[in-house]
Symmetry: C2
Amino acid sequence: MARPRSFDEGAVLRTARDRFWSTGYAGTKIDDIAAATGLGKGSLYGAFGDKHALFVRIFDDHCATAIDGARRKLEGPDSEAYQRLRDYVLGDADTVIADEIHRGCLIAKAAAECAEHDQEIATRARKAFRELNGLLTACVAAAQRAGDIAGGHDPARLAGLLLATMRGIEALGKGGCDQAGLRGIAETALEVLPKP
Amino acid sequence: MARPRSFDEGAVLRTARDRFWSTGYAGTKIDDIAAATGLGKGSLYGAFGDKHALFVRIFDDHCATAIDGARRKLEGPDSEAYQRLRDYVLGDADTVIADEIHRGCLIAKAAAECAEHDQEIATRARKAFRELNGLLTACVAAAQRAGDIAGGHDPARLAGLLLATMRGIEALGKGGCDQAGLRGIAETALEVLPKP
DNA sequence: GCCGTTCTGGACGAAATAGTCAAGAATGCC
DNA sequence: GGCATTCTTGACTATTTCGTCCAGAACGGC
Protein backbone atom coordinates (compact mmCIF):
# COMPACT_ATOMS: atom_id res chain seq x y z
CA MET A 1 0.00 0.00 0.00
CA ALA A 2 1.25 3.40 0.89
CA ARG A 3 3.44 4.95 3.47
CA PRO A 4 1.39 5.62 6.64
CA ARG A 5 1.30 8.91 8.47
CA SER A 6 4.04 9.22 10.99
CA PHE A 7 2.15 11.64 13.26
CA ASP A 8 -0.94 11.55 15.39
CA GLU A 9 -3.46 13.82 13.73
CA GLY A 10 -5.22 14.67 16.97
CA ALA A 11 -2.01 15.63 18.73
CA VAL A 12 -0.94 17.82 15.82
CA LEU A 13 -4.33 19.54 15.75
CA ARG A 14 -4.15 20.20 19.47
CA THR A 15 -0.67 21.67 19.18
CA ALA A 16 -1.71 23.84 16.26
CA ARG A 17 -4.83 24.89 18.14
CA ASP A 18 -2.67 26.07 21.04
CA ARG A 19 -0.59 28.18 18.67
CA PHE A 20 -3.66 29.82 17.17
CA TRP A 21 -5.14 30.22 20.63
CA SER A 22 -2.08 32.03 21.88
CA THR A 23 -1.21 34.21 18.93
CA GLY A 24 -4.44 34.50 16.99
CA TYR A 25 -5.08 33.64 13.38
CA ALA A 26 -3.17 36.43 11.67
CA GLY A 27 -0.41 36.34 14.28
CA THR A 28 0.33 32.64 13.88
CA LYS A 29 2.78 31.57 11.19
CA ILE A 30 2.65 28.23 9.44
CA ASP A 31 6.33 27.89 10.27
CA ASP A 32 5.45 28.26 13.97
CA ILE A 33 3.02 25.40 13.69
CA ALA A 34 5.52 23.33 11.74
CA ALA A 35 8.15 23.92 14.41
CA ALA A 36 5.73 23.27 17.30
CA THR A 37 4.44 20.04 15.81
CA GLY A 38 7.75 18.90 14.38
CA LEU A 39 6.16 18.38 10.99
CA GLY A 40 7.46 19.69 7.71
CA LYS A 41 5.29 22.16 5.87
CA GLY A 42 4.62 19.68 3.10
CA SER A 43 3.03 17.29 5.59
CA LEU A 44 0.92 20.05 7.08
CA TYR A 45 -0.32 21.23 3.72
CA GLY A 46 -0.83 17.69 2.53
CA ALA A 47 -2.84 16.68 5.57
CA PHE A 48 -4.87 19.80 6.29
CA GLY A 49 -4.77 22.11 3.29
CA ASP A 50 -3.85 25.74 3.65
CA LYS A 51 -3.71 27.90 6.76
CA HIS A 52 -7.34 28.88 6.66
CA ALA A 53 -8.63 25.35 6.16
CA LEU A 54 -6.50 24.20 9.08
CA PHE A 55 -7.89 26.95 11.26
CA VAL A 56 -11.48 26.18 10.35
CA ARG A 57 -10.86 22.52 11.06
CA ILE A 58 -9.39 23.32 14.46
CA PHE A 59 -12.20 25.74 15.22
CA ASP A 60 -14.81 23.15 14.33
CA ASP A 61 -13.18 20.52 16.51
CA HIS A 62 -12.91 22.95 19.38
CA CYS A 63 -16.55 24.02 19.17
CA ALA A 64 -17.66 20.41 19.17
CA THR A 65 -15.47 19.65 22.19
CA ALA A 66 -16.69 22.70 24.09
CA ILE A 67 -20.32 21.89 23.41
CA ASP A 68 -19.87 18.26 24.34
CA GLY A 69 -18.20 19.27 27.57
CA ALA A 70 -20.98 21.70 28.37
CA ARG A 71 -23.57 19.07 27.63
CA ARG A 72 -21.93 16.60 29.96
CA LYS A 73 -21.71 19.18 32.72
CA LEU A 74 -25.18 20.66 32.31
CA GLU A 75 -27.47 17.76 31.48
CA GLY A 76 -28.98 15.66 34.24
CA PRO A 77 -31.88 15.44 36.65
CA ASP A 78 -33.81 18.57 37.58
CA SER A 79 -33.06 18.15 41.25
CA GLU A 80 -29.35 18.85 40.72
CA ALA A 81 -29.70 21.34 37.91
CA TYR A 82 -28.86 24.36 40.03
CA GLN A 83 -25.76 22.68 41.39
CA ARG A 84 -24.66 21.80 37.86
CA LEU A 85 -25.18 25.40 36.80
CA ARG A 86 -23.10 26.58 39.74
CA ASP A 87 -20.33 24.12 39.01
CA TYR A 88 -20.30 25.07 35.35
CA VAL A 89 -20.14 28.83 35.89
CA LEU A 90 -17.64 28.69 38.74
CA GLY A 91 -15.59 26.10 36.87
CA ASP A 92 -15.37 28.43 33.91
CA ALA A 93 -14.18 31.25 36.14
CA ASP A 94 -11.64 28.99 37.81
CA THR A 95 -10.33 27.95 34.42
CA VAL A 96 -9.84 31.57 33.48
CA ILE A 97 -8.08 32.24 36.77
CA ALA A 98 -5.84 29.20 36.43
CA ASP A 99 -4.93 30.12 32.84
CA GLU A 100 -1.68 31.95 33.45
CA ILE A 101 -1.39 33.18 29.92
CA HIS A 102 -4.92 34.57 29.70
CA ARG A 103 -6.13 32.91 26.55
CA GLY A 104 -9.80 32.94 27.44
CA CYS A 105 -12.29 31.16 25.24
CA LEU A 106 -11.04 30.25 21.77
CA ILE A 107 -14.49 30.58 20.25
CA ALA A 108 -14.83 34.13 21.52
CA LYS A 109 -11.25 35.00 20.61
CA ALA A 110 -11.55 33.69 17.07
CA ALA A 111 -14.93 35.35 16.65
CA ALA A 112 -13.50 38.65 17.86
CA GLU A 113 -10.59 38.51 15.45
CA CYS A 114 -12.17 36.90 12.41
CA ALA A 115 -15.95 37.05 12.38
CA GLU A 116 -16.09 40.44 10.73
CA HIS A 117 -14.31 39.31 7.61
CA ASP A 118 -14.57 35.53 7.72
CA GLN A 119 -18.05 34.16 7.21
CA GLU A 120 -17.01 30.57 7.88
CA ILE A 121 -15.81 31.43 11.36
CA ALA A 122 -18.72 33.77 11.99
CA THR A 123 -21.28 31.12 11.10
CA ARG A 124 -19.65 28.50 13.26
CA ALA A 125 -19.25 30.83 16.23
CA ARG A 126 -22.88 31.87 16.04
CA LYS A 127 -23.96 28.26 15.96
CA ALA A 128 -21.71 27.34 18.89
CA PHE A 129 -22.98 30.20 21.04
CA ARG A 130 -26.54 29.28 20.19
CA GLU A 131 -26.00 25.70 21.24
CA LEU A 132 -24.28 26.69 24.48
CA ASN A 133 -27.14 29.03 25.17
CA GLY A 134 -29.60 26.21 24.55
CA LEU A 135 -27.83 23.94 27.01
CA LEU A 136 -27.74 26.66 29.63
CA THR A 137 -31.38 27.51 29.03
CA ALA A 138 -32.39 23.90 29.55
CA CYS A 139 -30.41 23.76 32.76
CA VAL A 140 -31.92 27.00 34.06
CA ALA A 141 -35.39 25.73 33.21
CA ALA A 142 -34.62 22.51 35.05
CA ALA A 143 -33.49 24.47 38.10
CA GLN A 144 -36.71 26.44 37.91
CA ARG A 145 -38.78 23.25 37.84
CA ALA A 146 -36.82 22.03 40.83
CA GLY A 147 -37.62 25.26 42.66
CA ASP A 148 -34.05 26.52 42.92
CA ILE A 149 -34.57 29.52 40.63
CA ALA A 150 -37.72 31.64 40.58
CA GLY A 151 -40.05 30.52 37.84
CA GLY A 152 -41.24 33.93 36.75
CA HIS A 153 -38.20 34.70 34.63
CA ASP A 154 -37.55 33.66 31.05
CA PRO A 155 -34.90 30.92 31.33
CA ALA A 156 -33.40 31.88 27.97
CA ARG A 157 -32.72 35.39 29.21
CA LEU A 158 -31.16 34.20 32.43
CA ALA A 159 -29.07 31.71 30.45
CA GLY A 160 -27.99 34.51 28.13
CA LEU A 161 -26.91 36.54 31.12
CA LEU A 162 -24.83 33.65 32.44
CA LEU A 163 -23.27 32.99 29.03
CA ALA A 164 -22.42 36.66 28.60
CA THR A 165 -21.01 36.84 32.11
CA MET A 166 -18.67 33.93 31.44
CA ARG A 167 -17.49 35.49 28.18
CA GLY A 168 -17.07 38.78 30.02
CA ILE A 169 -15.04 37.19 32.79
CA GLU A 170 -12.73 35.79 30.14
CA ALA A 171 -12.47 39.17 28.46
CA LEU A 172 -11.55 40.83 31.75
CA GLY A 173 -9.17 37.98 32.52
CA LYS A 174 -7.34 38.63 29.27
CA GLY A 175 -6.85 42.15 30.47
CA GLY A 176 -5.33 40.72 33.61
CA CYS A 177 -7.94 41.64 36.19
CA ASP A 178 -7.26 40.39 39.68
CA GLN A 179 -8.25 36.81 40.19
CA ALA A 180 -10.31 37.27 43.34
CA GLY A 181 -12.37 39.84 41.46
CA LEU A 182 -13.04 37.47 38.62
CA ARG A 183 -14.26 34.72 40.87
CA GLY A 184 -16.34 37.27 42.74
CA ILE A 185 -18.07 38.17 39.49
CA ALA A 186 -18.98 34.56 38.83
CA GLU A 187 -20.23 34.15 42.40
CA THR A 188 -22.23 37.34 42.13
CA ALA A 189 -23.80 36.22 38.86
CA LEU A 190 -25.07 33.14 40.68
CA GLU A 191 -26.13 35.08 43.78
CA VAL A 192 -28.33 37.47 41.87
CA LEU A 193 -30.24 34.73 40.07
CA PRO A 194 -33.80 35.22 41.36
CA LYS A 195 -34.65 32.86 44.19
CA PRO A 196 -38.21 31.58 44.54
CA MET B 1 10.32 77.95 9.53
CA ALA B 2 9.41 74.53 8.37
CA ARG B 3 6.73 72.96 6.28
CA PRO B 4 3.60 72.35 8.41
CA ARG B 5 1.74 69.06 8.58
CA SER B 6 -0.85 68.72 5.89
CA PHE B 7 -3.05 66.33 7.87
CA ASP B 8 -5.17 66.44 10.98
CA GLU B 9 -3.49 64.20 13.51
CA GLY B 10 -6.71 63.37 15.31
CA ALA B 11 -8.49 62.38 12.11
CA VAL B 12 -5.57 60.20 11.04
CA LEU B 13 -5.51 58.48 14.42
CA ARG B 14 -9.23 57.84 14.27
CA THR B 15 -8.96 56.35 10.81
CA ALA B 16 -6.04 54.18 11.84
CA ARG B 17 -7.92 53.14 14.97
CA ASP B 18 -10.81 51.97 12.83
CA ARG B 19 -8.48 49.85 10.76
CA PHE B 20 -6.94 48.20 13.83
CA TRP B 21 -10.40 47.85 15.33
CA SER B 22 -11.68 46.01 12.28
CA THR B 23 -8.76 43.81 11.41
CA GLY B 24 -6.79 43.52 14.64
CA TYR B 25 -3.16 44.38 15.25
CA ALA B 26 -1.48 41.57 13.35
CA GLY B 27 -4.10 41.67 10.61
CA THR B 28 -3.68 45.36 9.85
CA LYS B 29 -1.01 46.42 7.38
CA ILE B 30 0.73 49.74 7.48
CA ASP B 31 -0.09 50.07 3.82
CA ASP B 32 -3.79 49.72 4.68
CA ILE B 33 -3.51 52.58 7.09
CA ALA B 34 -1.57 54.64 4.59
CA ALA B 35 -4.25 54.04 1.98
CA ALA B 36 -7.11 54.70 4.40
CA THR B 37 -5.62 57.93 5.66
CA GLY B 38 -4.22 59.06 2.34
CA LEU B 39 -0.82 59.59 3.93
CA GLY B 40 2.45 58.30 2.58
CA LYS B 41 4.33 55.88 4.73
CA GLY B 42 7.07 58.40 5.31
CA SER B 43 4.57 60.73 6.94
CA LEU B 44 3.13 57.97 9.09
CA TYR B 45 6.50 56.80 10.31
CA GLY B 46 7.69 60.35 10.80
CA ALA B 47 4.68 61.34 12.87
CA PHE B 48 3.97 58.23 14.89
CA GLY B 49 6.95 55.89 14.78
CA ASP B 50 6.57 52.25 13.89
CA LYS B 51 3.45 50.09 13.81
CA HIS B 52 3.59 49.14 17.45
CA ALA B 53 4.11 52.67 18.69
CA LEU B 54 1.18 53.83 16.57
CA PHE B 55 -1.00 51.08 18.00
CA VAL B 56 -0.07 51.88 21.58
CA ARG B 57 -0.76 55.54 20.95
CA ILE B 58 -4.19 54.74 19.50
CA PHE B 59 -4.91 52.33 22.32
CA ASP B 60 -4.00 54.94 24.91
CA ASP B 61 -6.18 57.57 23.29
CA HIS B 62 -9.05 55.14 23.05
CA CYS B 63 -8.82 54.09 26.69
CA ALA B 64 -8.81 57.71 27.76
CA THR B 65 -11.82 58.47 25.60
CA ALA B 66 -13.74 55.44 26.82
CA ILE B 67 -13.04 56.28 30.45
CA ASP B 68 -13.95 59.92 29.99
CA GLY B 69 -17.18 58.90 28.33
CA ALA B 70 -18.00 56.50 31.13
CA ARG B 71 -17.24 59.14 33.71
CA ARG B 72 -19.56 61.63 32.04
CA LYS B 73 -22.34 59.06 31.85
CA LEU B 74 -21.92 57.61 35.33
CA GLU B 75 -21.05 60.52 37.61
CA GLY B 76 -23.80 62.64 39.10
CA PRO B 77 -26.22 62.91 42.02
CA ASP B 78 -27.15 59.80 43.96
CA SER B 79 -30.82 60.24 43.21
CA GLU B 80 -30.31 59.52 39.52
CA ALA B 81 -27.51 56.99 39.86
CA TYR B 82 -29.66 54.00 39.07
CA GLN B 83 -31.02 55.65 35.95
CA ARG B 84 -27.48 56.50 34.83
CA LEU B 85 -26.43 52.91 35.38
CA ARG B 86 -29.39 51.72 33.31
CA ASP B 87 -28.64 54.15 30.52
CA TYR B 88 -25.00 53.18 30.49
CA VAL B 89 -25.55 49.43 30.36
CA LEU B 90 -28.42 49.57 27.87
CA GLY B 91 -26.55 52.14 25.81
CA ASP B 92 -23.59 49.80 25.58
CA ALA B 93 -25.85 46.97 24.42
CA ASP B 94 -27.51 49.23 21.88
CA THR B 95 -24.13 50.24 20.55
CA VAL B 96 -23.20 46.60 20.07
CA ILE B 97 -26.51 45.94 18.34
CA ALA B 98 -26.14 48.96 16.08
CA ASP B 99 -22.58 48.03 15.17
CA GLU B 100 -23.23 46.18 11.93
CA ILE B 101 -19.69 44.93 11.63
CA HIS B 102 -19.49 43.54 15.18
CA ARG B 103 -16.32 45.19 16.35
CA GLY B 104 -17.17 45.17 20.02
CA CYS B 105 -14.94 46.95 22.52
CA LEU B 106 -11.50 47.84 21.23
CA ILE B 107 -9.96 47.53 24.67
CA ALA B 108 -11.24 43.99 25.04
CA LYS B 109 -10.35 43.09 21.47
CA ALA B 110 -6.80 44.38 21.74
CA ALA B 111 -6.37 42.73 25.13
CA ALA B 112 -7.59 39.44 23.73
CA GLU B 113 -5.22 39.55 20.81
CA CYS B 114 -2.16 41.13 22.34
CA ALA B 115 -2.10 41.02 26.14
CA GLU B 116 -0.46 37.61 26.28
CA HIS B 117 2.65 38.73 24.47
CA ASP B 118 2.56 42.53 24.72
CA GLN B 119 3.09 43.93 28.18
CA GLU B 120 2.43 47.51 27.12
CA ILE B 121 -1.06 46.65 25.93
CA ALA B 122 -1.69 44.33 28.87
CA THR B 123 -0.78 46.99 31.41
CA ARG B 124 -2.94 49.61 29.77
CA ALA B 125 -5.91 47.27 29.40
CA ARG B 126 -5.70 46.28 33.04
CA LYS B 127 -5.61 49.90 34.10
CA ALA B 128 -8.55 50.80 31.86
CA PHE B 129 -10.70 47.97 33.16
CA ARG B 130 -9.83 48.92 36.71
CA GLU B 131 -10.88 52.50 36.14
CA LEU B 132 -14.11 51.52 34.44
CA ASN B 133 -14.81 49.20 37.32
CA GLY B 134 -14.16 52.03 39.76
CA LEU B 135 -16.62 54.32 37.99
CA LEU B 136 -19.26 51.61 37.91
CA THR B 137 -18.65 50.79 41.57
CA ALA B 138 -19.15 54.40 42.56
CA CYS B 139 -22.38 54.56 40.60
CA VAL B 140 -23.67 51.33 42.12
CA ALA B 141 -22.81 52.62 45.58
CA ALA B 142 -24.63 55.86 44.82
CA ALA B 143 -27.70 53.91 43.69
CA GLN B 144 -27.51 51.95 46.92
CA ARG B 145 -27.41 55.16 48.94
CA ALA B 146 -30.42 56.40 47.01
CA GLY B 147 -32.26 53.18 47.83
CA ASP B 148 -32.54 51.89 44.26
CA ILE B 149 -30.26 48.90 44.80
CA ALA B 150 -30.22 46.81 47.96
CA GLY B 151 -27.46 47.89 50.30
CA GLY B 152 -26.41 44.48 51.47
CA HIS B 153 -24.27 43.69 48.46
CA ASP B 154 -20.68 44.70 47.77
CA PRO B 155 -20.96 47.42 45.14
CA ALA B 156 -17.62 46.42 43.61
CA ARG B 157 -18.88 42.92 42.96
CA LEU B 158 -22.10 44.13 41.40
CA ALA B 159 -20.10 46.57 39.31
CA GLY B 160 -17.81 43.76 38.22
CA LEU B 161 -20.81 41.74 37.16
CA LEU B 162 -22.11 44.62 35.07
CA LEU B 163 -18.72 45.25 33.49
CA ALA B 164 -18.30 41.57 32.67
CA THR B 165 -21.82 41.40 31.28
CA MET B 166 -21.13 44.29 28.92
CA ARG B 167 -17.89 42.71 27.73
CA GLY B 168 -19.76 39.43 27.33
CA ILE B 169 -22.54 41.01 25.32
CA GLU B 170 -19.89 42.37 22.99
CA ALA B 171 -18.22 38.99 22.73
CA LEU B 172 -21.52 37.34 21.85
CA GLY B 173 -22.30 40.18 19.45
CA LYS B 174 -19.06 39.49 17.61
CA GLY B 175 -20.27 35.97 17.14
CA GLY B 176 -23.40 37.43 15.62
CA CYS B 177 -25.99 36.54 18.25
CA ASP B 178 -29.45 37.83 17.58
CA GLN B 179 -29.96 41.41 18.55
CA ALA B 180 -33.09 40.97 20.63
CA GLY B 181 -31.22 38.40 22.69
CA LEU B 182 -28.35 40.76 23.34
CA ARG B 183 -30.61 43.53 24.55
CA GLY B 184 -32.46 41.00 26.64
CA ILE B 185 -29.22 40.10 28.37
CA ALA B 186 -28.54 43.72 29.25
CA GLU B 187 -32.09 44.17 30.52
CA THR B 188 -31.83 40.98 32.54
CA ALA B 189 -28.56 42.09 34.09
CA LEU B 190 -30.35 45.19 35.35
CA GLU B 191 -33.45 43.28 36.43
CA VAL B 192 -31.55 40.89 38.63
CA LEU B 193 -29.74 43.64 40.52
CA PRO B 194 -31.01 43.18 44.06
CA LYS B 195 -33.85 45.57 44.90
CA PRO B 196 -34.17 46.88 48.46
C1' DG C 1 12.79 86.27 -3.45
C1' DC C 2 15.95 83.24 -0.87
C1' DC C 3 17.01 79.87 2.68
C1' DG C 4 16.78 76.56 6.27
C1' DT C 5 13.67 73.43 8.04
C1' DT C 6 10.22 70.07 8.16
C1' DC C 7 6.85 67.46 5.71
C1' DT C 8 5.40 64.44 1.67
C1' DG C 9 5.12 60.62 -1.43
C1' DG C 10 6.59 56.71 -3.16
C1' DA C 11 10.42 53.93 -4.77
C1' DC C 12 13.41 50.80 -2.68
C1' DG C 13 15.66 47.16 0.31
C1' DA C 14 15.32 43.61 3.56
C1' DA C 15 12.96 40.36 6.01
C1' DA C 16 9.23 37.38 6.73
C1' DT C 17 5.63 34.36 5.18
C1' DA C 18 2.42 31.40 2.43
C1' DG C 19 2.45 27.83 -0.39
C1' DT C 20 4.82 24.43 -4.00
C1' DC C 21 7.62 20.84 -5.50
C1' DA C 22 10.74 17.09 -6.25
C1' DA C 23 13.62 13.61 -4.48
C1' DG C 24 13.69 10.21 -1.38
C1' DA C 25 11.59 7.19 2.44
C1' DA C 26 8.29 3.97 4.40
C1' DT C 27 4.74 0.79 3.96
C1' DG C 28 1.82 -3.38 2.39
C1' DC C 29 0.69 -6.25 -1.43
C1' DC C 30 2.21 -9.26 -4.92
C1' DG D 1 12.50 -8.51 -3.25
C1' DG D 2 9.93 -5.47 -6.52
C1' DC D 3 6.34 -2.18 -6.98
C1' DA D 4 2.73 1.16 -6.51
C1' DT D 5 1.34 4.43 -3.40
C1' DT D 6 1.44 7.86 -0.06
C1' DC D 7 4.11 10.44 3.22
C1' DT D 8 8.19 13.44 4.54
C1' DT D 9 11.54 16.97 4.28
C1' DG D 10 13.21 21.22 3.38
C1' DA D 11 14.82 23.97 -0.38
C1' DC D 12 12.65 27.08 -3.42
C1' DT D 13 9.44 30.67 -5.36
C1' DA D 14 6.37 34.28 -5.17
C1' DT D 15 4.29 37.47 -2.50
C1' DT D 16 3.59 40.35 1.25
C1' DT D 17 4.95 43.61 4.52
C1' DC D 18 7.76 46.42 7.49
C1' DG D 19 10.57 50.11 7.59
C1' DT D 20 14.04 53.42 5.26
C1' DC D 21 15.45 56.93 2.38
C1' DC D 22 15.68 60.72 -0.67
C1' DA D 23 14.27 64.11 -3.96
C1' DG D 24 11.13 67.50 -4.08
C1' DA D 25 7.42 70.51 -1.94
C1' DA D 26 5.61 73.84 1.37
C1' DC D 27 6.24 77.03 4.77
C1' DG D 28 7.96 81.24 7.74
C1' DG D 29 11.66 84.35 8.70
C1' DC D 30 14.92 87.31 6.68
